[in-house]
Every structure is written in C-alpha cells, then in structure tokens.
Amino acid sequence: MAEAGTPAPRTLFDKIWDAHVISDMGDGYALIHVDRHVVHDMGARGFVGLRNRGLPLKHPELTFASADHAIPTSPTTPWATYSNPYLENLRESARIFGFTFFDVARPGAGIVHVVTPEQGIALPGSTLACGDSHTCTIGALGAVAWGVGQSELLHILATQTSIQQRPPNMRIMIEGPRPNGITPKDIILHVIRRVGTAGARGLAIEFAGSAIADMDMEGRFTVCNMAIEMGARYGMIAPDETTFAYLKGRPYAPKGELWDQAVANWRGLRTDPGAVFEREIVIPSRDLAPQLTWGTSPDQVIGVDESIPDPAGETDAVRRKSMIDALSFVGLEPGQSLIGVPIDNVFIGSCTNARLSDLRLAASYAKGRRVAGHVEAWVVPGSFDVKTAAEAEGLDRIFIEAGFQWRDAGCSMCGGMGDLSRERVASGKRVVSTTNRNFVGRQGPGSRTHLASPAMAVAAAIAGCIADVRDL
C-alpha cells in the first residue's frame, strides 16, 4: 500500500496516459492529446472528410503520411509516373494542408509502422494514433499507440485529440533465453496461443521479462505488432538503453540539448514496483520450437514439432465449431503434422517482419539454397530505407540468386491490397507468410495462410512444403 502523501504506484501505460489527458469525459473515457498522427493511403479518405466539412487540419506539423496499402511493390513499377486515386489524394492533401508526406520510392516511404520509428517520428512517452489496427507496433518504443477507424481519424485531423477509454493493464512477462532458430515472431505466436484471440480484449499489454530486455528494437516491434491479435488495442515495452540507442540520430528525433532533455524524461517511463495489473502472466521462452498457425485465427498456433489439435477434444461448442470450420477451410486434418504440407506461396514482408534484421535472418537461411520450383516466393521490404540498407549489404543478391522475388516496399500481399488488390494469394493456394493475420480470405479470397517467422518462411520456400528451419 502507498503511504499517505506518496503517489500510488502506476504502470508505464498509466503514466503516459495521465500525461495526455485533456479532459475527463466520464465512464473512464477521456479526451487524449495525440502527439503524432500517422495516415496511410487507406486513411486518405479522412482528408476528403476534412474538405467536405470545410475544416482545417489542426496540426500539419504533427501529421505524417506514407502510402503503403494499395501501392504496387513490383520492382519494375515506373515510380516517376505511377499513381492511384489513394496516392493522388495524399499528394494533393499534403499540398493543401501542409503535412509531411513521404512520397513513394524515396527515403521515408514505406509501411507506416516501419517508417515512423525508423525516421524518429514515434518517440517514447508519446501518443501516436493511426487508422490501422497494427499501430500497437509503435508501443515497443514505450509509446501509447493505438489504431482508430476512419471517423476517429477525421476527429484527430480536425482536433489533434482522440476520445478513448482508459483500458485496464495486463503484463506479459516473457522469461528465459531464446533458443537458436527461435525468433521474436515465434515468441509472440506462442504468447497468442496461450492468451487467445480475445484474451486481452479491452486491455493494454505491457511486455516485459528477460527475453524482452534481451531483444533488439526490431524484435520488440514484431512482438508489440501482434498485441491486437489478442484483442489488446495497445502493446508496449518500457524504453531502455536499447530504445535510446535505436532512436539517437534518426532524422526526426530530437537533437542536442533537446535529446538529452528527452532521454532524461524517458528514463522515468517504467512501471512502478507495486503497480496493479488486471492480469499478469509469465511465459517461459526456453523450450520453444518454431511456431506457426494451422487455422484461420492467429491463436490457432502449434509448434512445428506438434500435430494439429482435434476439435473432438474441445469442450466449448462454439470453439469446437470454429476449429472444424478452420480445418475445413485450410484443408487439413486433426492429428496431422504440418511438416510436409505442400505450399504454393511464401511472403516475407509486412509491419510484423520486414525490417532489416528480419531480412538479414531470412537471407542467412536463403544463402546458397534454391526456392522449390513450384513455389512463388516474395521478399517485400518494409520501407524504402530498409530496402536500400539491405541492398547495400547484398541481401537482394542472395534472395534473387535463391529464386525469391526482391520487390519494392509496401504492405503488398499481407492484406491482399497491394497494387489495388492485384497483389494477393490466389484462391485455394497455401502461403507461409510472415504477416499477422490468417483470417479467412485475408491475403485474397480463398487463400490459406500459415503465419510464421521469416526463418520458417525461408525453410518452407526451399523445401516446397512446411518444414522445420532447424533441419535446414
């Protein structure tokens, strides 16, 4: 118990939340200041809404945009002349309203959740909103970052604020060393399996523990990216020296005295001892095998050395039906091993797994090997800057020589929207994908998705079927 006069211990989330409350709206709702508003091409409709209402953009200097969802990623795209209606809207809106727009195929362009940390736009202790549910990715910097729908996006454009309900907090401690061949993606898939797709619904998750402390920044983005797949609108990690080292010198990050002042402030961003969490779980990372999904929900996960669970063993009728439906959709049987299941596509990309470390890892397995003849395998970097850095290291050559397509940055096949929805997995085809959702038809109507790490994606591409990367 806190003594009289001493402030009650608070969570990391609550500290940042409290510092951004403009007014209390009752019932746990508050008007929250948005420090950074990020808009992608599907959010461009918000600018149409602004114009339809004759409203100004409240803070152009706090608004940033990049086109990622609907643009093509073909390496032969004629970028100097390329356009589509969403991209054109962002270009025109940037001219009218004066916000920062990273136009395609130049520094700063790419998937919004890759770009904003990489450019130093997203900062610890800040609030960041974007019309995309995977905005929780940014919480890895120690920020409160959440996704909104288009109406709330318009509200933020017009007011630089968002109406949000304060969520209770959950802490997920991931403890222990990470075995060889096991990536942050395997860890988060395993966590989702344990927590379930609604297990953190309405909560803000703080990830902590030794496996998180030991993880580099890019791995932490992968972990926080999938908080939404447990129903949590927010995922976050307390900022530490790893965070500060990652941000220092980034184009939009504070510089000089302001940097020192910011870091001094950020050092206080941690959960106080004794702070109360609504729910707390500890998950060991020591004995993990590579993880992948077998069904149509991100919590339908098994280790590659396990077999697909039998719906007959599920006591809850609704859950049993969803398992049966999932197996029917993906064309697999209870008790079957995933190893050896033939695949058609491999997709390495997305806001989950398309940063430089992901591509380095994938290239380390692809080097000197060949993609199976019947498999179409794509590598889509998360941003223009990631692509440039990867090419400087020769990763593009490794992928191309192994038979992968090395493409331009964008969301591409992740949601089946790239190139105005022409970049998708064909109906009935099976893809091993480093993305975050295996929903029915997510990567294209009728497509069947197995979520996995970049390492497992390469293993599948080489073998032509689902394979254990540890046997490669």
């Binding site: 510092a19 403009i22 709206m25 009752g26 019932d27 008007l31 200041h33 420090d35 599907m42 409709r45 149409v48 209402r53 706090l62 969802h69 589509n84 209606p85 969403y86 809207n89 900062l123 202790g125 995309d132 549910s133 996704g147 909104v148 729908g149 288009q150 709330e152 017009a158 007011t159 630089q160 109406i163 309900q165 797709t197 609604a198 619904r201 309405g202 939404i228 129903g231 184009p251 939009y252 504070p254 510089k255 302001l258 002042q261 910011a262 402030n265 609704v318 859950r319 039906k321 969803s322 949601g415 929207m417 105005l420 929805s421 959702r437 929903f439 029915v440 038809g441 997510r442 109507p445």
Partner: protein, 216 residues
C-alpha cells in the same frame, strides 16, 4: 448525424465468436477507370459478410441468417463475443448500417469497431452471453412476427414476448446518440482546453512540438 432514439425491428442471430472485420467487410481497393478521386465513404453492399453469406460460386447461402426470409430487413444483430475484432476498417460498420442494422448486441466487441459504431449511428450493446441466449430464443420467424425494440435513453431492450433487459452505455455516448451531435463538433467546443493542454505540455516536453521539420 440523425439522432438515434429507438430501434424497432427484427433481430437476426449470428452466434459466432471472434467475427473479424475482414469477414464483415472483405472490401479491397480496386482499380477503376476514370478520374483519380476517392469518396469519404465507399459502400459495396454486396461485400457484407461475404465469406459467410455466399458460397464459393457466389450464390447466396440459404442457411445464412441475413439471406433467410424475415431477416433481410433486420435492424438488430445478435452476435457472439469479440464481434468486430481485427482490422480497423470502418467499412465493417458502414456495410452494417447500409444493410439497415442500427443495433448490434454482443457479449463483447473489438475496441475499434465498438467506437466506430457510435460514429455511424449504430448502437453497440454489451450484454452477458446468457442474456443474449434468451434474446436468441425469442427471435422466432423474424419480421413482422418477432419485433424487438431497443430504447437508447432508458437503456432497455424489449423482446417480442415482452421481456425487458437493461443495458449500460457511457453517458456521453448516450447523449451524443440522442442528440445526433457529432464528436468533432463536441470536441471543437472545447478548443480552449486543448490549447491550454498544449501550452503546458509544450513547456514540459518541447521535443514533441519543436523540431517537426527534419533536422539533418
């Protein structure tokens, strides 16, 4: 926005958990001829629940509730837990509204979907699963035999059999629904509070506001 006072009509039951917004609205940007202009909202009415509503050949599935006689004009949807989870796509809400749904009753919702409902004149009601089971048991043949009513001001659901169930709503949401006042207008009325917050915050955290142009 039109004030939302009371919803009267048939209730369709869809007792599936974790129905995500990709399933509610599997819409995608499409290549189109013509001028490069996008609308604030794009409604593709045929997309609503497409993976559940149509078979692989695109024909309506007779067993899907909204295809059944008596439910093609349902105004209330009785749903499973975590309804509207997943992607932030507001098309999920727009398509439901376009179909005529004005109220979704579920044990729980995806957070972004829940917020978006209020902004589009749809009332999302959270009720315990066992109470929803009672409602589902009363659905019957749909309109015009089985009419439910949902009253916003008092927070009451009245079933065809006369049973009354109470539900809670955040007060500011309730008054916004009843007045039809939009959130943006409401927030802009408090612009002074926003300006005061920013003045204070700018002094405490200048790095948030200051170097907003790229520094080499």
């Amino acid at each position: 926005m039109e004030p939302l006072i009371e919803i009267v009509g048939a209730a369709a039951s869809l007792p599936l958990n974790n129905v995500n917004t990709d399933t509610i609205a599997p819409t995608r940007p499409r290549a189109q001829a013509g001028p490069a202009a996008i609308a604030e909202r794009e409604i593709d009415a045929t997309a609503l629940f497409a993976p559940l509503r149509y078979d692989a050949q695109g024909a309506p599935r007779a067993d899907f509730v909204l295809n059944r006689p008596g439910f093609e004009r349902a105004t209330i949807l009785l749903a499973g837990s975590n309804f509207g989870c997943g992607s932030s796509r507001e098309q999920a809400v727009w398509l439901l509204a376009d179909f005529g749904i004005r109220c979704v009753i579920a044990p729980s919702f995806g957070g972004i979907f829940y917020d978006s409902c209020f902004k589009n004149g749809i009332l999302p009601v959270m009720l315990p699963a066992d109470q929803i089971d009672l409602l589902i048991a009363e659905v019957g043949a749909g309109a015009p035999q089985s009419i439910f009513s949902v009253e916003v001001a008092s927070g009451t659901i009245t079933t065809p059999g006369g049973r009354k169930l109470a539900f809670d709503l955040p007060e500011f949401r309730r008054s916004a629904l009843l007045s039809g006042l939009d959130d943006i207008a409401l927030t802009l009325r408090g612009s002074d509070a926003i300006a005061q917050f920013q003045a204070r915050d700018r002094a405490a955290r200048p790095w948030i506001y200051l170097p907003m142009t790229k520094t080499p």
